[in-house]
């Protein structure tokens, strides 16, 4: 009983008396990689406190029936759905990401978007959007955000604009996410329950993740190369990342 009142106390503290509103935006998120998770549907759940960008279904668009397909090769491990968690008005994003061998929860606290806001305007849905550009970890991005939804959230790690990002893509169209369906709602649903599934605490830093990703990629490619039949060439141990990762500047392991 005591606990309950304590919870109520904290609850009211966080919420103040401010009206909460929920948003649920469905994004088509496409990302060109050599492996298979590419075109997916994500939902951005948000309220005044945080946003949570998470894969909708297991949706691995290219499904293979044959045995021993490379998608089935990529270890399924404790495959939790990829998510990105961000609190309003804070820059860091907590996300989970797979290397070729394992999945990690990472706190990316090295984010710095120097958005340049342009005057170009475009209507997406029924919202007037404004163009913003930035260079982020080796790629040049264009974002379209609407200040009609005054939150600084967006797909994946992209955030920090005076309004929600409804579309973002890079110059080479390696990555593109755009809102397909917007739902803004009086805050009846409690998104906090979405967070119970994930463990936000046990995270590693972004730098730690980069070096783990390298190590794991080298291990994985070596494993696969060594299993090829006679006469077939080795898998190319390319720059881990280059075209396969959004963030090029983070390529630290080159072949």
């Amino acid at each position: 009983m005591k606990n309950i009142s304590l919870i109520f106390f904290f609850f009211s503290l966080t919420i103040y008396c401010q009206k909460t509103y929920n948003g649920e935006i469905i994004y088509q998120d496409s990302f060109k990689t050599a492996s298979n998770n590419i075109i997916s549907s994500y939902t951005l759940y948000f309220n005044n406190n945080f946003s949570f960008y998470i894969l909708n279904t297991k949706a691995i668009p290219i499904k293979n029936n044959a045995n021993g397909t490379l998608s089935s090769l990529i270890p399924e491990q404790s495959s939790k759905k990829p998510f990105y968690y961000k609190e309003l008005n804070k820059e860091n994003v907590i996300f989970n990401s797979k290397t070729l061998l394992r999945q990690y929860t990472v706190n990316d606290n090295a984010l710095k978007f120097n958005w340049k806001i342009h005057n170009d305007e475009r209507i997406i849905g029924k919202h007037t959007c404004r163009k913003a550009t930035t260079e982020f970890r080796g790629r040049k991005y264009t974002a379209w955000f609407t200040s009609e939804i005054p939150v600084d959230y967006g797909p994946r790690k992209f955030n920090g604009l005076p309004g929600l990002i409804l579309e973002i893509y890079d110059e080479k169209r390696i990555y593109r996410a755009y809102a397909k369906n917007l739902k803004i709602n009086s805050g009846t649903e409690n998104f906090e329950k979405l967070l119970t599934d994930i463990n936000l605490s046990n995270s590693i830093t972004y730098e730690e993740f980069l070096s783990k990703r390298c190590d794991d990629a080298i291990k994985f490619k070596s494993l696969i190369s060594s299993k090829m039949p006679r006469g077939s060439g080795n898998l190319k141990l390319n720059k881990v990342g280059s075209s396969e990762n959004l963030e090029i500047n983070s390529d630290v392991c080159l072949d």
């Binding site: 009206k19 406190n49 290219i62 200040s147 494993l223 060594s226 080795n234």
Partner: protein, 884 residues
């Protein structure tokens, strides 16, 4: 005015360096509001000057060094946005603006946005608009496909979706190459391609899409409008020592309506270029609806061709081959498509062999030596015409006509036990093949196909041997000094097949087929004993006038169904045969009826364990080479004959497969067990002498065959290498008669054990080494066995994207040879890309140790033999490839 100018001049410097801080709090009626967006906009241009969000206390702070008229826009979800106009000038260091927001109820607000997508998915098609994936550096289709998500292209150019190789690579829905698509992907430029489509669960017959059980994948390239008439291709020339050479060329053009493709290959390096287009000539399709008659071809009696070696064929193939192929697709109307394919192949090959056969069976113990030089000359012309007419979305007619004409002239110089002899075989092959297939989809999930096919194939042979070794067989022919055999094999096939595919709920599939297939074989042989050019005898018992007709009326059913993690396949085929046999004017007939059932199951126990098993019982009808009545000559010292009667052979087979782990896991094991029992089988009753062997087919009961094979993979992290173990065992048992011994049992056991180690290093260098032992044993009245070993070591150096070097070495060891029992081979390949995707230089060297002869050892149920082959000498080729 003057004052204003003075004012500006004085104040301007302050302007530029002054910064104004705008602060304030945001509240609603009752409390502070946190996370409220605060944006400073230019009042005219509306451009955003600065923005922030309020903190937990509802406080915000904005800084700007601009001056003029601005709007401060304060907004938060659930509140009405408020705009506060303000003027900033240089003197203002601080500006405090507090804002009170009014609640604005915001009910469900849903917006659905339509937008062009770079990737769109509909059912089994994934469409990629290439402009979203390319950056202009792509030259060839292969480069472009590398950029398409989900596609893998390996170093050989094999295109895979996931790990499954694609069925075909089409251009605007037209397929020229089938599985030979690399010719296209490696040569066609990327720029005309607007869209790439990945077609999953692909069906060769479009109406069967979604109905038949298919896990095939195909790609379709859609061209942009302006790329209608571009010619492109490549040329590769290789020149080496001792006039070794190769010349390859491809030229193609893909218009919207018509598509053309030309290919040529000339070489003397042992390369068989027809392999490149074999898929186009005889498509290899298993379990494909409307594929009746695919396995029907004439059976030739005699052949003077090099034996199949378990050894790289190119090492012993002394050739001079020329191949030209011309292909085109025409789409004269929306509904009509015409495909043509033609090729011409000339080849002259030489083959050299020395062998010694030791025979030791009851009643015969001798040693034969052969010094054999074979020269084959051939000329093949092949044409194929496909005609596809689409009546409507659900009805389609396909017709395929093939014509083949081959002319062969084979001569062998044979020194047999010291006697110099000459064998000569001239033969032709003419084939006419017409297939018509009509498909209709009469329901969303039901397809009906009606297929008819007619094949007429003929293969006359003329054989002569300029010695007479057969005194014991034909004692009356005293003065005979040579023999000849004229023969003609003819085959006519006519078949009709009705096929219904019915896809049910939960993916279950029912297939029913009703058909009738008729085949008539004619085998005429004339064997003559000659003295010089005059025939002195045509011995009875060595002449055949055989006509064999088989009419197979059948009903086939198949049901595929799934229950949880289990998949089942049940098949039941019923055949009513009408056989008619006419041997040397004596005719007979029979009409047997039989049923072939089979049952298969696969069980995905969990992610790591998979089990597959199947059982089938089959009855097979005897073919023409099993039923003829008199002897025919099938080689210079062999005569064979069939049973002279009808036969049906029964067999059961059981297959079991278990997989532990996935291929990519550090540990992976895959085990196959195959068991076959032939309740009846054809064996031979052979009269064996030093100069000839005469055998007739006999029907025997119960033959058994078992094969167990296991592959294990284990990856060692510490040395970044994978160890592969390969263990196999096969045992077969059968019975035959040699020199009237009565039935003797022949048991053969084969064991093989191999291991391989392959690295997956990061750097330029990698190795792959392996060794494999094979032990064979044959037990009858005699007991022969041997153990051979093959080992290899391959080294690869990939210095950079432009330059790589590969070395392959092999070692063969024959345990039963006392001398010359070890052979080494070393091949070398280097490649340098001078201009990316334009000009590549290469150096290729084969047989660097210049091993000239290769001796192998083999055993059989009548003895053992050693065989020595002559090999292509060491040669070095300088290669140049140019793309245009």
């Amino acid at each position: 005015m003057f004052r204003l100018i003075i004012f500006i001049i004085c104040v301007l410097p302050f302007f530029s360096f002054s910064q104004t801080a705008i602060t304030g709090s945001v509240k609603d009626e009752s409390s502070n509001l946190y996370s409220v967006s605060v944006i400073l906009k230019d009042s005219l241009s509306k451009s955003i000057i600065a923005y922030t969000y309020t903190d937990d206390e509802g406080i915000y702070q904005l800084k700007t060094n601009k001056t003029g008229r601005f709007n401060l826009v304060v907004s938060s979800l659930g509140y009405e946005a408020k705009t506060v106009p303000l003027v900033l000038n240089s003197e203002q260091k601080n500006l405090k603006i507090d804002v009170v927001l009014k609640e604005k109820p915001m009910d469900l607000d849903e917006v659905i946005i339509q937008a062009e997508s770079p990737i769109s998915i509909s059912n089994d098609t994934i469409n990629f608009k290439t402009k979203y994936f390319t950056d202009g550096t792509e030259q060839t289709v292969e480069d472009l496909l590398r950029r398409i998500p989900g596609l893998q292209i390996d170093s050989e150019g094999t295109i895979k979706v996931g790990n499954q190789e694609i069925e075909k690579l089409m251009v605007d829905g037209d397929d020229l190459f089938e599985k030979g698509y690399k010719i296209l992907s490696k040569n066609m430029p990327a720029y005309p391609i607007e869209e790439v489509e990945v077609l999953k669960n692909y069906s060769n017959n479009r109406l069967l899409k979604g109905v038949e059980e298919s896990n095939k994948v195909a790609l379709n390239l859609k061209l942009d409008e302006k790329s209608k008439r571009i010619w492109f291709g490549n040329i590769e020339t290789s020149i080496g020592n001792d006039s070794f050479y190769q010349l390859k060329g491809n030229l193609m053009n893909f218009g919207k309506k018509n598509k053309y493709y030309f290919l040529t290959n000339l070489n003397s390096i042992g390369y068989n270029a027809t392999g490149d287009i074999q898929n186009l000539v005889r498509p290899f399709r298993i379990n494909e609806p409307a594929s009746i008659g695919d396995n029907q071809s004439v059976n030739a009696l005699l052949s003077l061709s090099p034996p199949q070696l378990n050894f790289k064929k190119s090492r012993t193939n002394f050739n001079n081959a020329e191949l030209v192929s011309l292909n085109a697709i025409f789409n004269p109307t929306e509904k009509l498509k015409i495909k043509t394919l033609g090729f011409f192949n000339w080849d002259e090959t030489d083959f050299f062999r020395n062998s010694t056969d030791f025979v030791d069976v009851s009643g015969a113990s001798f040693t034969n030596t052969e010094d054999y030089q074979l020269q084959n000359k051939k000329r093949i012309a092949f044409g194929k015409l496909d005609f596809i007419y689409n009546f409507s979305k659900t009805k389609m007619l396909e017709a395929t006509t093939k014509y083949n004409n081959g002319d062969f002239d084979d001569v062998s110089n044979l020194v047999f036990n010291g006697n110099s002899t000459l064998e000569n075989l001239q033969h032709q092959n003419t084939l006419f093949d017409q297939k018509i297939s009509y498909s209709t989809k009469f329901d969303d999930k039901k397809v009906f196909l009606l297929t008819g096919r007619f094949i007429d194939e003929e293969s006359p042979q003329s054989y002569s041997f300029n010695e007479f070794f057969y005194d014991d067989l034909f004692p009356a022919s005293d003065n005979a000094n040579n023999v000849s055999q004229q023969s003609n094999s003819q085959m006519k096939f006519a078949g009709i097949n009705a096929h219904l595919l019915d896809r049910r709920d939960k993916g279950n599939l029912l297939e029913l087929q009703l058909g009738n297939e008729f085949r008539e074989d004619k085998l005429f042989t004339t064997f003559s004993v000659l003295e010089d050019n005059s025939i002195i005898d045509q011995p009875t018992g060595y002449q055949n006038q055989t006509k064999y007709q088989v009419n197979d009326l059948y009903f086939k059913s198949k049901y595929l169904f799934k229950i949880k993690d289990f998949g089942f396949t049940a098949k039941l085929d019923a055949h009513q045969l009408f056989n008619r046999l006419e041997n040397n004017n004596l005719s007979d007939h029979q009409s047997p009826f039989f049923i072939n059932p089979s049952l298969g199951m696969d069980w995905k126990i969990n992610g790591k364990n998979k089990l597959m098993t199947s059982y089938s019982y089959t009855t097979t009808n005897a073919g023409v080479l099993d039923v003829f009545d008199d002897f025919v000559m099938t080689g210079f010292r062999s005569f064979t004959k069939g049973t002279g009667d009808f036969n049906q052979l029964d067999a059961s087979s059981l297959v079991f497969n278990y997989q532990l782990g996935n291929w990519s896991d550090r540990f992976f094991a895959n085990t196959f067990i195959i068991y076959n029992k032939n309740h009846d089988f054809f064996s031979t009753n052979t009269q064996l002498q030093q100069n000839f062997a005469q055998s007739e087919k006999i029907l025997i009961k119960d033959r058994e065959f078992i094969s167990i094979n296991s592959d294990l993979d284990f990856y060692f992290k510490s040395i970044s290498s994978n160890l592969k173990l390969d263990l196999g065992y096969t045992k077969s048992e059968f019975k035959n008669i040699v020199n009237s011994t009565g039935l003797r049992e022949v048991t053969s056991n084969n064991y093989n054990y191999g291991l391989e180690l392959r690295s997956g290093f990061r750097g330029a260098f990698n190795y792959h080494a392996g060794t494999k032992w094979t032990t064979s044993q044959i037990k009858t009245t005699i007991d022969n066995s041997f153990t051979n070993n093959v080992s290899f070591l391959d080294l690869s150096f990939v210095f950079n994207d432009k330059f790589d070097v590969q070395m392959q070495s092999e070692l063969y060891y024959f345990g039963n040879l006392e001398t010359d029992n070890t052979y080494y081979f070393l091949d070398f390949d280097a490649r340098y890309k001078l201009i990316e995707n334009k000009l590549t230089l290469g150096l290729s060297a084969k047989n660097l140790f210049n091993t000239e002869r290769f001796r192998s050892f083999s055993i059989s149920d009548i003895g053992f033999s050693t065989t020595e082959y002559r090999l292509l000498p060491r040669f070095v080729l300088l290669k140049m490839e140019y793309r245009f």
